[in-house]
Symmetry: C2
Subunit: 449 residues, 2 copies
């Protein structure tokens, strides 16, 4: 009989990938248990969000899925948000949950905000073209792939998937500038061949999709399931839509310093998405504008629904399904999770929360999280505190007063040590006197019979 | 059947008394256990050292002993290190270990460095006279007291107990300045009646003790046991003695800025203690100079051995004996301790270390400490690391990056929360699946018989 220990952390943003965090925790676990045999499972997790390390994109959700499922990465040269060629990669693995050959594409790999310097951050001029190129490469070269998971966090774009669709071969039509025309008949419109960004969409007055190109794409993608990992619930347009909510963080204040000018940019972004939505409804009979998540990643969420017929799924659900987390949690004695920072907001703790929920389902009453910061995470469960997870207790990794810098630099060591300590307490609880007495009492009962 | 939990912390220096720390821990314990009945014991501890709070002397070892034993404090007016009258107190309690009426006197209460402003810090001019007055008051007014515990940490003095002895009625003799004389016969010497500090001792050339006054003191103290709580092992004189090792921190650099001048002061302090030691050997046949601890508190340790026939004991041993700690540790399931800062040096962690040792004696394999800082406390046990306590695991209370100030200000809340977390893990370990399975297995055996 061995104690079954599961360590299943998210990445610690800005310092450690989920895999590295899981390894640190595993070291702590292995050093802690000296009295009992253990069976330790390390399951790095992700929530579909990207993990940005100090010098670029780190090992994110794709890495987690590939590592856990012994998959591989495929290198590919595609365009960054403003059209420069860059080296990227996407992953392919056979899912342990259903054996389906699955690709995982992180849009931030090519179309992420981290690809741009401050002065390049302008969602009017950025495009998801590179993401489309990645998908196209995967579809054309990986014939056995029947499922594509798209992780769409961290985008630099607000193009409603205009670039992606264009890269996939969809042709857009526009009224030529030289002659104004109300005719929507294809004959009088030109094929759009500029850089597929919102500015071009508006300037060239793109108003129509070449239906035959859309049908060709549909045929090509016919037997592939597209899933978007997404926890954002925003609609496509309007004041809660992509442009107004997420646009500001994608637009550099160096580029457009005046608040009023910035507001005008957001307005134009929203009007571009509104036109696209109109076009989708009219020509493709698809109305996604109110579907939660259509506004994710600058409307790429909506674009994926329209062009790829994609399903939106919670990032954690997807990752936990394809990493075999649930299977591991069965009969677990101790479950440990973690994340860089935990508070009671919806923006953090998705992975620890998800682990706690799944663990509870399998009879593990409480899970323990290690984190860089749990100042805003309620310590006590309370029925009035809805934001609190009654079956999770979070430990901060700091071993004394320290600034954020020290915490980030020492994160691996600190995570290992805190995990060690938690396991030591668990072992002590497991082997406590009262338990021994209880067992002795049971033994006495046996002997006296 | 209930889980027996013991919380036994030291004070958290500069922020919380041991009693307040124990209360904070107790709150954490009580909120944590929801599945099992518990029997919680809070035992604030001390190590004989003083506890200096931000605005003066806080609740130290005396407070711990008085509170635990339901004793009382006796107010008394005595002199501070430079002769000003001040209000002080000492404690009296009936020890729970042997029912002996016991007094506890903290020398730092009257003769502590904290009593002086920066410019008054000069061990040539400070005296333990006030400490002697406290002892005298106790001996004369508390007839039932048969044991006096002296806590001698934090002194402002380096007088070898010269002031204390003088206050207790011992008369010192000196050659009058007006005529040089080698005669040691009392007739030609004057009775010293200046302020009993090292400067006066040297200036007036004090060279002799009035033996009859010493004998009177001996008679008066005949049936009182004096115990000095002391973990300092320094000898009285020489380069490892009181003056050279602890003198510097008692001498203000504002007063004597030059290093060479400061060295001269230390030399004079050492020569005064050397003379005293000579006098003790010659007249009282007592040679304490090499006894470990004779150099504690500026030689007050040695003075207590000579004048009071005092025994030196480790502060922790004394406190644990008189608080009933050991009794509480019997059959404990979970033992928690704590201290403001823990490292592997001998200067810190005496209380947690002591608790761990005692707990081990009673079958508790590992104790858990909460502390403000365990950066320098080894996390893992290792046979090569002698300074490490293999049966103690220390948790830092920080719940994220923070500076020392925040840690001090939030100490009570942080200690409570960290204790809560530790107890939650313990409870989880205690109620883990494997244990349930084990018990179920035992039950099956019973049922199948």
């Amino acid at each position: 009989m061995a104690l079954k220990i599961v360590v299943a952390p998210n990445a610690f943003k800005e310092c450690l990938s989920a895999a590295k965090a899981a390894n640190a925790m595993l070291r702590g676990v292995q050093k802690a248990f000296t009295k009992y045999k253990i069976e330790a499972h390390a399951i790095p997790l992700g929530d579909g969000e990207i993990f940005v390390a100090p010098f670029g994109l780190g090992d994110g959700t794709a890495e987690v899925l590939i590592t856990t499922n012994h998959g591989k990465f495929v290198p590919v040269t595609v365009q960054d948000p403003i059209g420069r060629d860059i080296s990227c990669k996407y992953g392919i693995f056979q899912s342990r949950s259903d054996n389906v050959e699955t690709a995982v594409i992180e849009m931030a790999e090519c179309s992420g905000l981290w690809r741009l310097n401050e002065k390049e951050k302008n969602p009017m001029k950025t495009s998801t073209y590179g993401t489309g190129q990645m998908i196209l490469h995967c579809v054309e070269h990986q014939k056995s792939v029947k499922r594509v998971i798209l992780c769409i966090g961290g985008s630099a774009t607000n193009d409603g998937g205009f670039g992606m669709a264009n890269a996939l071969g969809i042709q857009f039509l526009h009224s030529p500038f030289e002659k104004e025309s109300n005719t929507t008949n294809g004959k009088l419109l030109s094929i759009f061949n500029g850089f597929p960004c919102p500015e071009q969409f508006l300037q060239k007055n793109v108003s129509s999709i070449d239906i035959s190109s859309f049908q060709k794409l549909q045929q090509k993608l016919h037997d592939i399931e597209f899933i978007v990992a997404c926890d954002v619930k925003n609609p496509l347009i309007g004041s809660y839509g992509a442009s107004y909510v997420y646009g500001p963080q994608k637009l550099s204040t160096l580029l457009v310093p005046e608040k009023s000018d910035r507001d005008k940019v957001l307005e134009r972004l929203d009007s571009a998405l509104t036109s696209m939505n109109h076009m989708w409804k009219l020509q493709l009979s698809k109305d996604v504008s109110e579907i939660p998540g259509a506004g994710a990643a600058g409307g790429l969420g909506g674009g994926c629904m329209v062009y790829l017929n994609a399903q939106m799924r919670s990032g954690f659900d997807l990752v936990s399904e394809h990493t075999g987390l649930e299977e591991s949690l069965k009969n677990a004695d101790l479950v440990l999770t973690g994340e860089g920072r935990m508070d009671s907001s919806t923006d953090s703790g998705k992975v620890p929360h998800g682990v706690a929920e799944l663990a509870k389902k399998h009879g593990v009453d409480v899970v323990f999280a290690v984190t860089g910061n749990c100042k805003k995470y309620s310590t006590y469960s309370s029925s009035t505190d809805e934001k609190h997870d009654p079956n999770m207790v979070a430990f901060a990794i700091a071993d004394g007063p320290m600034d954020l810098q020290e915490s980030l630099e020492r994160s691996s060591e600190l995570i290992e040590n805190e995990t060690f300590r938690i396991c030591k307490v668990f072992e002590a609880g497991f082997s406590s006197k009262l338990k021994k007495d209880f067992i002795a009492q049971q033994n006495n009962k046996i002997m006296s019979q």
